[in-house]
């Protein structure tokens, strides 16, 4: 078996097990001890079975949400880093999460009271905000030529980030104090979805994105080498760039709408995985998704148990871990 096949198989096995264990283990952990036997005891009516309620209504959706958001953000991070040919790129670099945040802020401060298909106004508004950001950035990157300039993409994204961040601060400032606090909390990330509705709403888009992610890795290898090198090896550069941009952006938008802009996953997981498996995107992309899922689920367990019953925002946990790790990475590269 060739080296890459072997490494892919081993990675999938190891990281897949990790992710699986995290997702099934997390619902069992928490400040309230629950017994697995009782959870699955059919003789007790559900409305009376607190253990089962905690497992199925509170913890399991939360673990699944953590896995979905973690996998999506990590994979999107890999794709963006390859697209922009910059290992410092994150899923939030191009302004998608700023757009989502602005949408959420507006929904919170305008006290929108709608919900569609089990999805609250805040979630829906943040997704629409992310779509707007994606559209604006893409339009700007295309404006000057029919092609696709990643330089302009980057500039457009950074500009949009700054602009939306200023708008967000403005909205926050005008907001009621209670709403201002709610917006602040939203920005720190929250995976307590309380039910499967929001998960199911985000799932279709993530599945579509992951299908694209399955197709991209080989092209990403070549793209991160050189666009001409990629073209001369048979890659349709324009198509790959578009697919990469849209799939990663939409996936990020869905993930941020579901759990808020949880930072550092999109950058530390790809780096960590590359340290372990090398730079080949055919391994890095799926491995990052699995490691990202496991990592966020674990971080969420910490978030809900460290200061119980007070809920710590999961974004703080990822930042506390991610910040020092990132510094270490930068120092190491000297």
């Amino acid at each position: 078996m060739t080296d890459v096949r072997r490494r892919l198989a081993v990675s999938m096995l190891v990281f897949g097990s990790l992710a699986f264990l995290a997702v099934i283990g997390a619902p069992l952990l928490g400040t309230t001890p629950i017994r697995l036997a009782r959870v699955f005891d059919r003789s007790i009516p559900f409305a009376d079975n607190v253990d089962a309620q905690i497992f199925f209504i509170a913890r399991l959706p939360r673990a699944l949400a953590g896995a979905l958001v973690g996998a999506t953000l990590a994979a999107a991070g890999v794709v963006f880093q390859a697209l922009l040919r910059n290992p410092l790129a994150t899923p939030f670099t191009l302004g998608v999460s700023a757009g989502a945040a602005l949408g959420a802020m507006l929904a919170i401060t305008m006290r929108l009271h709608l919900s569609l298909w089990g999805v609250s106004a805040v979630t829906a508004a943040s997704f629409i905000g992310s779509l707007c950001a994606v559209g604006i950035v893409y339009a700007m990157a295309r404006a000057r030529h029919h092609g696709f300039s990643t330089n302009i993409l980057l500039l457009a994204g950074v500009t949009l980030n700054s602009f939306f961040s200023a708008l967000i601060l403005f909205v926050q400032y005008l907001a009621d104090s209670a709403e201002a606090l709610r917006t602040m909390r939203w920005l720190m990330g929250d995976l307590d979805v309380a039910g499967y509705g929001p998960l199911l709403a985000a799932l279709p888009l993530c599945i579509v994105a992951f299908v694209a992610f399955a197709w991209l890795p080989r092209a990403l290898n070549l793209l991160s080498l050189d666009t001409d090198a990629a073209a001369s090896r048979g890659v349709n550069v324009l198509r790959v760039q578009r697919v990469a941009f849209f799939s990663a952006s939409m996936a990020t938008g869905a993930a941020v709408s579901l759990g808020g802009p949880i930072g550092f996953i999109g950058i530390i997981i790809p780096h960590l995985v590359r340290l372990m498996v090398g730079a080949d995107h055919r391994i890095v992309l799926p491995a990052s998704a699995l490691v990202g899922a496991a990592f966020l689920v674990a971080a969420d367990v910490v978030a809900r148990t460290a200061m119980a019953p007070v809920e710590l925002p999961v974004g703080i946990i990822t930042a506390l871990i991610g910040g020092p790790f990132f510094l270490w990475l930068l120092v190491r590269q000297r």
């Binding site: 309230t32 607190v50 309620q53 939360r62 999460s97 980030n161 700054s162 400032y173 802009p261 974004g315």
Partner: protein, 337 residues
């Protein structure tokens, strides 16, 4: 205001916006402090750097940045002496005619100075602003946030500061007796385990914030014959997970909403959100009470009304429960001059 960040860049911070339009939104003194205090140590509230400047005579031009202090002033008869209020003041109706000079984070110093006050009521945490006032030799009264007992204590203190000690004493006594009345009527009643929700995402159960075992809302709940589900957490406000609610199984849920009214549809939708947790006793037995009103979180003279609302929700047999929308009558202050 700082943003918790997730890795994307932040834009420029904003500076003070200046005077606001009156009557825009309900502003919540207690919520401002309570929630700002979430991110500051409890002791910091007491750490005041500015010295207050005392003047020799009773102040006649008072500016209040603290809505609960404004209500107190009006309750003790100092209303006519108030020349400006904060952006968040909504009660009593007289304040609608008064100029607005900002609030906790954005006091409009220029406007304040131009109104030539001889007393400014401000928060003890506004250290920069207080230093500016001291330089301008303007007397300051510092508002201190605290428990339920601190409200009447503060009222008496404020009364003596504005030379209306007797009236303040009388008003405070009325509040005390109103609260005592409720306590007495509910003495000996079984105290249901109650979760006091002070905020959540509309129509969903995400980002639920509750009152912890600290602060005047907790004290009111306690007085109204309820056992705060989170009395063990010594914080005024905290976010709780779904799991915790399921585990602690509240018998009663009281939700506070700060707009004055809500349509029946909106109220029904908010109630419906709780159906995600059918096993919680409060949901099972239909004991979810939605309270509406701006005064719900102002630690001022109208706390008796809030206490009554709580009591009605917790012990409907003792005090009949009115429909959730607009529990408090329009003219809600007890005895004003």
């Amino acid at each position: 205001m700082k943003l918790g960040a997730g890795g994307w860049g932040l834009g420029t911070g904003g500076s003070g916006l200046g005077a606001r339009d009156s009557g825009l939104r309900i502003r919540l003194t207690a919520a401002v402090l309570a929630l700002v205090l979430l991110v500051s140590a409890p002791d910091a509230r007491r750490a005041v750097a500015a010295r207050t400047v005392e003047s020799g005579h009773a102040p006649t031009r008072i500016i209040s940045l603290v809505p609960s202090a404004t209500e107190m002033l009006f309750a003790i008869g100092a209303g006519p002496r108030v020349v400006a209020v904060s952006s968040y003041d909504r009660y009593p109706p007289e304040v609608d005619r008064l100029p607005r000079v900002g609030a906790l984070v954005d006091p409009d110093v220029e406007r304040i100075l131009s109104l030539r006050p001889d007393l400014v009521i401000a928060y003890s945490s506004q250290t920069d602003f207080l230093a500016q006032l001291e330089r301008a030799r303007i007397p300051v009264y510092l508002y201190r946030h605290g428990s339920l007992a601190d409200i009447t204590r503060g009222m008496r203190d404020l009364g003596s500061r504005v030379d209306l000690a007797a009236e303040a004493g009388a008003a405070a006594a009325r509040i005390d007796s109103g609260l005592a009345d409720i306590r007495i009527r509910l003495a000996g009643k079984r105290r249901p385990r109650t979760m006091l929700v002070i905020g959540r995402e509309p129509q969903s159960l995400r980002a639920i914030h509750v009152s912890g075992g600290y602060g005047f809302l907790h004290d009111l709940l306690d007085l109204a014959g309820g056992d705060n589900l989170f009395a063990d957490v010594k914080r005024e406000s905290m976010m709780v997970a779904t799991e915790t609610i399921l585990a602690r199984a509240p018998e009663v849920i009281i939700e506070l909403h700060y707009s004055d009214t809500a349509s029946r549809e909106a109220e029904a939708l908010e109630r419906k959100a709780w159906r995600l947790l059918p096993g919680v006793p409060a949901v099972k037995n239909g004991r979810i009470y939605l309270l509406y009103g701006g005064e719900l979180v102002v630690p001022g003279p109208r706390v008796v009304l809030t206490a009554q609302a709580f009591a009605r929700a917790l012990h409907p047999d003792v005090l009949p429960h009115q429909e959730a929308v607009r529990v408090i009558p329009q003219d809600g202050l007890l005895d004003r001059k």
